[in-house]
Symmetry: D2
Subunit: 446 residues, 4 copies
Amino acid sequence: MVPRYARKEMLALWSDERRLATWLEVELCACAAMERVAGGPIPPGTAERLRQAAAAAGPLDLVRIREIEAETQHDIVAFLTYLEERLGPEARFLHLGLTSSDVLDTALALLLCQAIDLILDGLRGRLLPALRHQALRHRRTPLIGRTHGMHAEPITAGLVFASSYAELDRAARRLQASRTEIAVGKLAGAVGVYGSGVLSPQLELEALAQLGLVPETVATQVVARDRHAALFAALALLGAGIERLAMTVRHWQRTEVGEAEEPFGARQKGSSAMPHKKNPVLSENLCGLARLLRAGAGAALENIALWHERDISHSSVERVLAPDMTTLADFMVHRAATIVEGLTLHPERMQQHLQQSLELCASEKVLLELVARGLPRGQAYEIVQRHALGALAGGAGLRARLHTDPEVASRIPPSVLDACFDLQHHLRHVDAILARVFGPEVLEGP
Amino acid sequence: MVPRYARKEMLALWSDERRLATWLEVELCACAAMERVAGGPIPPGTAERLRQAAAAAGPLDLVRIREIEAETQHDIVAFLTYLEERLGPEARFLHLGLTSSDVLDTALALLLCQAIDLILDGLRGRLLPALRHQALRHRRTPLIGRTHGMHAEPITAGLVFASSYAELDRAARRLQASRTEIAVGKLAGAVGVYGSGVLSPQLELEALAQLGLVPETVATQVVARDRHAALFAALALLGAGIERLAMTVRHWQRTEVGEAEEPFGARQKGSSAMPHKKNPVLSENLCGLARLLRAGAGAALENIALWHERDISHSSVERVLAPDMTTLADFMVHRAATIVEGLTLHPERMQQHLQQSLELCASEKVLLELVARGLPRGQAYEIVQRHALGALAGGAGLRARLHTDPEVASRIPPSVLDACFDLQHHLRHVDAILARVFGPEVLEGP
Amino acid sequence: MVPRYARKEMLALWSDERRLATWLEVELCACAAMERVAGGPIPPGTAERLRQAAAAAGPLDLVRIREIEAETQHDIVAFLTYLEERLGPEARFLHLGLTSSDVLDTALALLLCQAIDLILDGLRGRLLPALRHQALRHRRTPLIGRTHGMHAEPITAGLVFASSYAELDRAARRLQASRTEIAVGKLAGAVGVYGSGVLSPQLELEALAQLGLVPETVATQVVARDRHAALFAALALLGAGIERLAMTVRHWQRTEVGEAEEPFGARQKGSSAMPHKKNPVLSENLCGLARLLRAGAGAALENIALWHERDISHSSVERVLAPDMTTLADFMVHRAATIVEGLTLHPERMQQHLQQSLELCASEKVLLELVARGLPRGQAYEIVQRHALGALAGGAGLRARLHTDPEVASRIPPSVLDACFDLQHHLRHVDAILARVFGPEVLEGP
Amino acid sequence: MVPRYARKEMLALWSDERRLATWLEVELCACAAMERVAGGPIPPGTAERLRQAAAAAGPLDLVRIREIEAETQHDIVAFLTYLEERLGPEARFLHLGLTSSDVLDTALALLLCQAIDLILDGLRGRLLPALRHQALRHRRTPLIGRTHGMHAEPITAGLVFASSYAELDRAARRLQASRTEIAVGKLAGAVGVYGSGVLSPQLELEALAQLGLVPETVATQVVARDRHAALFAALALLGAGIERLAMTVRHWQRTEVGEAEEPFGARQKGSSAMPHKKNPVLSENLCGLARLLRAGAGAALENIALWHERDISHSSVERVLAPDMTTLADFMVHRAATIVEGLTLHPERMQQHLQQSLELCASEKVLLELVARGLPRGQAYEIVQRHALGALAGGAGLRARLHTDPEVASRIPPSVLDACFDLQHHLRHVDAILARVFGPEVLEGP
């Protein structure tokens, strides 16, 4: 994790402290369930006493744990050894019948769920509302739509935000679906069959329920890795959705377009050599981060086909991807929100570009009228293309040229021809589109 | 598409004939809806007359269409020009107000839905049932579970199939979810605002409904590409799930393991130089194809951030990925089914490997007993590890060694120690696991 | 391979006919070397007689070969069986001691070398010369350089082409280096130790030399796959270099910039709905194809870690990647050349944009003068930023503002201040840069 | 960077301290060259005085620099402001005419070169020698070669190490080639044309030479990113080469094979639940890390097509990839060396597996003899396959079966048939292969 691209909530979530505390929580819940369900080995009240002892002992001593791990070269063994040092002999009742992966995978599921929740909070609490606000605020701000980077026909700025809203709302739904897939733990022993005397499907179900998880359907030594890969794919899709939004901002801000500007701090310096430049660096940064998420999704897909009942090759990949990808995605959501919230639009520039192309935009409608009035499509296309290219070359505009074309005049009445050039008519369905995204209540708006 | 890795259904689905026929279907449905909803330009009965004319004219003439395209360098324009040649002047009422992408994206959605349906048919109609059959048939065939490629503790062969079933069932659900996301068309004109006189949200809704699709929430010139990327990610996840299954077969078949064999044709030749070799080439092939699906998913993620209201960079990527990825996934499903259906298991070899490790597998349970009976975990671990390594080195087995260890004997009664070595007890929860996958009815089985 | 993105030379290269003819060539060269070196089994003149028989028999009968393969399910066995049918009993001397991979990998090396040569021909024969031509033609065509999409300081259009030239020249060198790595065959038998009586390192060396190849240093059953992955990585790098060039064209062509235009056929249609639009579709297409090459490079990297002395998982990947990636790269080179050769530049638009920013571009030089004349950098930066932002906001330009600023006036003499605004001085090193790319002879030019 | 997978040399290399010290070094070299070459603005001796002042001032104060950066939100501006605070007013002569990227890219080149050197040191100083040692030590240790995971024909263990040596030697050469490509700096100002009064190609050449770098041929604002992508691809290729080696170790160590074992610390714990297991976790870990390198290479390829004269989207990607990929590659090299150096081979197990298959391995040679003696290949294949499958099924071995087959006996004399089963003859070319890798001097060995 590069701290530069991490919010403090995520740094805390993926800290060693939090990871070890989560392991302890898993061990305690397993122990408590074992007391209740398995009976036998664990004296009543053990889990509760251990929980209190842990609370009383204060934060886990990471330095000591690392010392032990340096010797044992095994993280869970080191952790359990430490707990016996720290919490006394009753700590031997922890981890009964469990295998390391029972604790590691269950804890990873918990941390990933928390990470997803942070990301969804940012999406639903900040970025989506910001997009909604801009979409409605600019629902009637006309803008020339661009395809292939070329002026096409008018849209409104609000639609651009609405389109991003709809895409990122889908990304949020996918992330929510992957949360359900990943909220899966495992307390089923070395190869997933509850082989040791104390484990059972029932015990696992109860212990995991305490943690908000359900058991893996058929575990090997580990939870199946397609679940994690699906999550990382969802994060890459979220990243690419944000990238599309950022790409739009970058295009809008470029000097020749100048239709919008990213927020720019009062004391911020733009370029060490060119003091006047205000560059869309936040959006460019988002485009870069989206690449990292894409790459990570690929590596996660390679983690699925583990050997037999598991090999540990996935582990190093996840040590990097789990914190990095969730942290970057979370950061991206908030950075995108900052951009959308603080974006300065320049409707006058939008208007200016619109004017340049407005007449040409009507070409489609004129073409349509000619065809509907009996001209073969090929001929109609050639007439309109000729006048459009003429208008582009300078001199008379498209509307004037069409009014004076005898073939056109013979087929389209002047008033119908003029109607082809009417912006309001062109945009008459915008509210209906917005209602599809935000619900019919937006139709009430001004 | 490499025909070697394609079933004929998929070759047909992605043929030029089918693509153009799908375009025509989209144009006809749009035309029919326009007649009903938009009124105006299109004379009543036009769509129906064109549909009949198309039926009467027989298959589309691909050679002629390609000739026209060579001139116009625009596929949709060539197609429409051809239709005017073929169906007569009424064909000018086709494509009214539409942009090329209206037809292309709607047709692509239809073809992708059909491709997904083929894949799901293979999954639900063949591969999943084959896995279920083997899972239940071998529910009690014991097998040494392996972690890190090393013998761990016993499982049953049925569980391995059940684990794959559960994973591929998740893959099928994800694919189904992505079908919902991709079943989205667009008949909204050049920049998605129904700018031409004849289009409207209502018309689009009706025309798409005829095709089994719904409208894009906020279209640009195209349907948003996160939908396609999500589908391709789902295919890559399916591929990786099949890869895990194939990896297991490869491991089982390797000479030293020899626990299972792929089906091998009577006349098939194994190796041009070594006639006796029966290699797991089908499974190896599946592992290779999974790599192609992974790669494709990455390219699709780059297609999302199009410029403004679209650029056409995604098009070439999709021309390759849409047919290739669905075709490969479909092929993989059927090849995997062939393997699972025809797999020969060798339970006697499984038994033989199991025996080699059965005693060592008990080490976990003995460790657990020692801890439960008051020995600190570290000490217990060292005792068991010492005896286990001793047994591995030869001479007395683990059980014998433990029975004669005074520290062990002082804590664990002999009968309890013996119970640690009981296979049936170890596997007592297998049926409960299978019930989680296949439902409680499997508990009735023999 | 999508024929749409393939030149006919590549389609021919990757045809079944050529592949089988290449197999035959490998078998004949191996046979001839065996006659000379191994002595023993093969009667003198066999190879030559078989070569003549093959020539006399005409083209290979693919239909018959496929029939046999359908039975044997083994491509090389089918091929050899066919040759015995076709060339008579002496054909049994072909493939003596060889394993399938000896033929397959050696033939693949030959085909890949030919494919690389085609690509290099396109690069060195067409694309690089076209870039050089434009670089020199526009060496003095001034253009505003852009960073972050924002106007920065002047460059010349020629430099943009020169930069692309230098990058694609590096790509060509990498491809050449990967050709050396891939020009490696193998005739070493089942596991690479020349185990059969007739093979030997010497025989392999001689046979491969006839084919222009050298032997694999230490073969397993196959040639090592890092060689292929290195080639595919080189192709992806080439693709990305072309993508950068295409990205520039797309930016230059966008409506608001309008500084260049892709070639556009006289009869070509731009948009089915908007006849006047001339879109940079060739360049957009190149950006899409670059994604496919990137993806393929990733899959090839997964092919390296084969099991033991080989598994066959790489084969399906290469059946797709080898033809697809070389064909796409070749197509991209020629499409890029078409763009560069036919690109229309609009120097007047370049001039116009340059004028807008020229004064602001001087800000860096003024900053530098202030610092050199003793003003702390921070203060100098603030003065210049203030005036630059003022000029951007309208009213007096930067030069005028600076001339009237007392702090500036007190430090920089007016003539020095004016020199900061001199375009020719700014571009005085352009020729020296071009000489680094094209050699000192370009300094002679006009 | 995950410290768990980082050697301390790499952690130091990518520390903030080292990065800023490298920036300072670049600034000082640029300043010194400016004094010499550009004359003018900088008083003689400035660079040397600043260098001494910096040395006297001790380590850079990172806390203070971060404070300033928090305000300016620009790393280079913050750094220069700090230097003025720290080194006094002469520090204003630093960075004259430079743009941030001049310093950043030149410093990045230096750090990457140092990182490559560390990796090459590990390769050439440790991993390759360890492979050579094992290759020569085990040059005559016979081993059954395996294809498709199935026994094929004999090789020697030494060849496996030699094959890895040859592959990783190629990886080292590629890395060396990419070092040449990346040893490129840039001191050419805002858009690469030395626009400010003080810069020039000559000055750049001299300043970079002091740093061991050469100038970018045609710079934009930055050094071209294909150079970095080529390096990251070379690292991914190295990673995949190591993965192949690790894959072999994993296969050799699996319980049923047991031909080799990774080093295992005396106090190391294998599994928290199964104390006896010694798992190939180091090799598994290497397979995981190779995935991360593959993924990173893909992201780097997306960094190449920057907009116009640069956008900053590559920056975040490189902040992650440059340290992570070099650090992981370095770690992998040393971990692989640890494995190879400490690998325990079990020649007796190798011998045992070899015996199981030795007779069957002769099948290829017998086939060859039959063909050479006039039997059509198809018939010969069927005879040998029949006996081989018979031998596999149990009872008489292949040699015995062939001796009693009348068709075989009628063609192959018994002594020739027996020679087909001779291991020494089979391996007679091993030394010649090793000589290709390590030079002819290895032929002298025992």
